[in-house]
């Protein structure tokens, strides 16, 4: 016990210092919280405006889309807390500060993931939680062990899927120059796609977000399974139970890419 604790001590020290640092500028901190909350609110408003206009879209009604949005956004914002700051890798590479991470006797990825802990991201997690609770309350769900198990499984695997996608994006930064905007298409694009009824997607998008960057497992598929709705061609609702496989696939990809990435890195010189 004490040995494992000692192993994690450095990480905990970094995280707690980050938290203290953020709280020492109260105005900036409050604005940060407000900004993070606004991200969640407007993303939800985008979905809501369309459903307010048409009622049913892609076989889902408004109550069902609350579940899709709540589940996927809760997973995304939690993963964002753990791994979202990996998108700062291009900055570290450009400034040459990444070298420092290689020198310490700890895993580079673990150091980068614990290098920051953005308290503001709590605001977005809380907002997704609220939307999800509305989804649970209004969705007319038959609560039983099956549904509870599915929700827990979905959340755990959803966080893993999005965190893995962040790691994939981070790995690609070693090969790209100023590539953060490119990888945004499957990190933030993935989150956007995950909160929509995937049945509407043309086949290439279904393939991409269903199997390659499998974000449909984080919200859309489990919602179908919870509400016992049939899925569209290519995405049957029983697939929701296969989210551990989707998470495993993302992490196989992520660890492979990450290993390639950190070996490719040549150092900042000097």
């Amino acid at each position: 016990m004490s040995r494992t604790r000692r192993r994690f001590d450095p990480y905990l020290a970094v995280i707690s210092s980050r938290i203290r640092a953020q709280r020492s500028y109260p105005v900036s901190f409050r604005l940060d919280m407000l900004g993070a909350l606004a991200v969640g609110v407007t993303e939800f408003a985008e979905v809501w405006v369309i459903f307010a206009k048409v009622g049913v879209l892609g076989g889902l009604n408004f109550h069902a889309i609350l579940l899709v949005f709540g589940l996927s956004n809760l997973a995304f914002s939690s993963a964002d807390m753990v791994a979202g700051h990996l998108d700062r890798i291009p900055e570290y590479i450009r400034q040459g500060t990444l070298d420092v991470f290689y020198l310490r006797p700890q895993s580079v990825l673990a150091q980068l993931m614990t290098s920051d802990f953005e308290l503001r991201r709590v605001a977005r997690i809380a907002f997704s939680g609220v939307i999800l609770s509305f989804g649970f309350a209004l969705g007319g769900i038959h609560w039983n062990v099956r549904v509870v198990a599915l929700v827990v499984l979905t959340y755990a695997c959803g966080v893993a899927i999005f965190a893995g996608i962040f790691v994939c994006a981070g790995s690609l930064q070693f090969f790209l120059i100023n590539g953060a905007e490119l990888t945004n298409s499957f990190t933030y694009g993935g989150s956007y796609a995950a909160s929509q009824p995937a049945s509407l997607f043309p086949n290439p998008l279904k393939l991409f977000f269903g199997y390659l960057a499998p974000v449909v497992f984080t919200g859309y598929l489990p919602t179908l399974a919870i509400l016992r709705l049939p899925g569209p061609a290519g995405l049957p609702s029983w697939l929701a139970w296969c989210s551990p496989l989707a998470a495993a696939w993302v992490w196989i990809l992520a660890s492979g890419l990450w290993r390639l990435g950190i070996r490719h890195y040549q150092g900042g010189g000097g």
């Binding site: 940060d32 900004g35 991200v39 407007t42 985008e46 405006v49 892609g58 499957f186 997607f201 998008l205």
Partner: protein, 266 residues
């Protein structure tokens, strides 16, 4: 006077040239815009198919999606402006002593940058839409002429708004929260994800009381011919109004910030 104008023209050209060196970044931006565009198109076109959605047809909705995605590089709603960094590092002191107007100089550079980004990001995006779904675009010349003016005004309003916002750095240590807040509110009210015409009326009224629809929705409406004739001239006039407002706010804040500014060292 002649020389003065020349400076800003040179700055605009420099902005254009600088942007032209980041072709890979432009391509990356295009790819992201296209991926988001496909998701947006899938949802909005399905919405058009299932009811009366603000008078949009499949072709006109597709035009909205792909023109708006194409303009994204030029109008850059990210909330970032170089001036923010320059305030944090103190470089802004140099800007203040230059013999050119600070706001106009930054504006000229940004207009140059925006103009270039229409080539690698604007045109291909519209082509993607034309190939995949087909777009409804006007057949007469007028909407295009007015549309180009409207895009230029949109880029200017977007810049002037971000410029004014980033001046908050004179008073706040870290402006990230403010920038994120501005970015999400402005992109939403500008009609980036859902056209303003689909908003419930109370929300549309709120949006129209802000400069944001003038940044994106108006240029898109004008150049796709959704708004024509007198109505088009009217919305462009409204853009001019917002250029004036954002410009004056920026100048007032810069003046106040200049009094507040303290630079260490020397």
């Amino acid at each position: 006077m002649q020389g003065r104008r020349n400076v800003y023209w040179q700055l605009a050209r420099a902005g254009f040239r600088r942007e032209s060196h980041y072709l890979l970044a432009a391509f990356a931006g295009l790819l992201t815009n296209v991926v988001f565009g496909f998701i947006k198109a899938a949802i909005l076109l399905a919405a058009v198919g299932s009811g009366n959605v603000g008078g949009y047809t499949t072709a006109s909705m597709s035009a909205y999606v792909w023109v708006s995605q194409g303009l994204l590089g030029a109008i850059q709603l990210s909330g970032l402006a170089e001036i923010g960094d320059r305030i944090r590092t103190g470089d802004v002191a140099v800007d203040f002593i230059r013999p050119v107007d600070m706001q106009a100089a930054h504006l000229a550079t940004d207009m140059g940058r925006g103009t270039f980004s229409l080539i690698p990001r604007g045109v291909p995006s519209v082509l993607v839409g034309a190939i995949t779904v087909g777009l409804a675009l006007p057949t007469s010349v007028m909407p295009y002429l007015l549309g180009v003016l409207s895009i230029a005004l949109g880029v200017a309003i977007s810049f002037l708004g971000r410029f004014a916002l980033n001046l908050a750095g004179f008073w706040i240590v870290e402006t990230r929260g403010l920038r994120v807040l501005y970015m999400v509110v402005s992109t939403f009210l500008a009609g980036l994800f859902v056209p303003v015409g689909l908003f419930p009326s109370w929300l549309a009224r709120i949006a129209l009381a802000t400069p944001f629809p003038s940044i994106l929705q108006t240029p898109v409406d004008v150049i796709t011919g959704r708004v024509t004739g007198i109505a088009a001239v009217e919305v462009v006039g409204r853009q001019l109004f917002w250029v004036a407002v954002t410009c004056l706010v920026g100048r007032a804040v810069a003046l106040a910030g200049r009094r507040k500014l303290e630079i260490q060292g020397g």
